[in-house]
Symmetry: C2
């Protein structure tokens, strides 16, 4: 069936979707009432029509500014740099951060051919410069892996003249983690980063 | 963001999609060029506009008849009864069956409140009756689990007066399977269904 095959091909392009799941999605479309599929169609178009980058933090936003950047109760001089949109939501869930974010939309990964060009780095430098020394802290919250560390080091070099306090999130044993099963690098970091009780 | 949240909610309704995956799908929509999303929109509408049930076998079809039922080289008096569309594709891949199918779109599952009413059983009975004794074999290929077996027994009772040869697919140790790890019921079936070498 042409119509079904076409939609299967397009679902295959979705992240992490294999042939079986794409088939299940297509059959879901067949079984679902037309009115609900029309609702999905409208929602998809709605995203394409309204979602762009936030002028400040480069996160995805409905308007000029995202919800966090337009919230005046947030400290806009404490910037947490993350590699992707999802990380903002993850940190927000922790409910301990009251600053703002900057989304890079990627990490420096020479292996995958992503250098600093593709990222929202220029925007971050400009943002920090524009603040003219007012940024009190810049927390680099990229993943503690090769690409994340490379990006963190690169960022530090780029911004150390503009921001006095550049910090990096702690690397250690996660809650519920088993020391016995931790890799030695994480344990090394956990020991080095120990805090007084 | 309203637009993004809306699309996440709708993706959550897809089979087997959790909150994380729905979020990834929504971000995929944000990142993908509008023209590709428009292609998806058209494909979704295409499915809703053109796909219905095959008049003969109740499988999904673009037109009146599905590809298999309109293929004159297939033996239309050997009917393989399956519970869902995906099973047709799976059996077709085996390339050993040259008959036609009948898709029930479900199994009898009193626990889930699905009785014989919701299934395409009436259509099967009518189809077999219409053939007026010409159906030589009816292979029941529902899964060898409680619901599948219940459905098979029910079907047999319903059709034994119209079809001489009602058969059930073999239950046994799958290729590459480990006898050591097989459950006793499967092993019992494998022994009972042994064939001469």
């Amino acid at each position: 069936m042409k119509a079904l095959d076409k939609v299967i091909t397009l679902f295959r392009r979705f992240p992490g979707v294999g042939p079986k799941q794409a088939e299940r999605f297509a059959l879901y479309v067949v079984k679902t009432p037309a009115i609900q599929i029309e609702e999905l169609v409208e929602a998809l178009r709605g995203v394409k029509n309204s979602v762009g980058y936030c002028r400040e933090c480069c996160n995805y936003a409905d308007g000029e500014l995202c919800e966090i950047c337009s919230d005046h109760s947030r400290d806009r001089f404490v910037i947490c740099v993350v590699s992707q949109t999802q990380d903002v939501a993850a940190i927000e869930k922790a409910k301990t951060f009251n600053g703002v974010y900057h989304v890079l939309h990627g990490v420096i990964s020479p292996m995958d051919g992503i250098n600093s060009e593709g990222l929202k780095l220029k925007e971050l430098v400009e943002r920090v410069r524009r603040a003219d020394g007012a940024v009190t802290e810049l927390i680099i919250a990229t993943n503690p892996d090769t690409e994340g560390e490379t990006t963190a080091i690169y960022l530090t070099g780029l911004l150390k003249d503009y921001v006095a306090g550049i910090t990096r999130i702690a690397c250690g044993v996660p809650l519920g983690g088993d020391i016995d099963y931790m890799d030695e690098v994480t344990l090394g970091h956990a020991l080095k980063g120990r805090t007084k009780v």
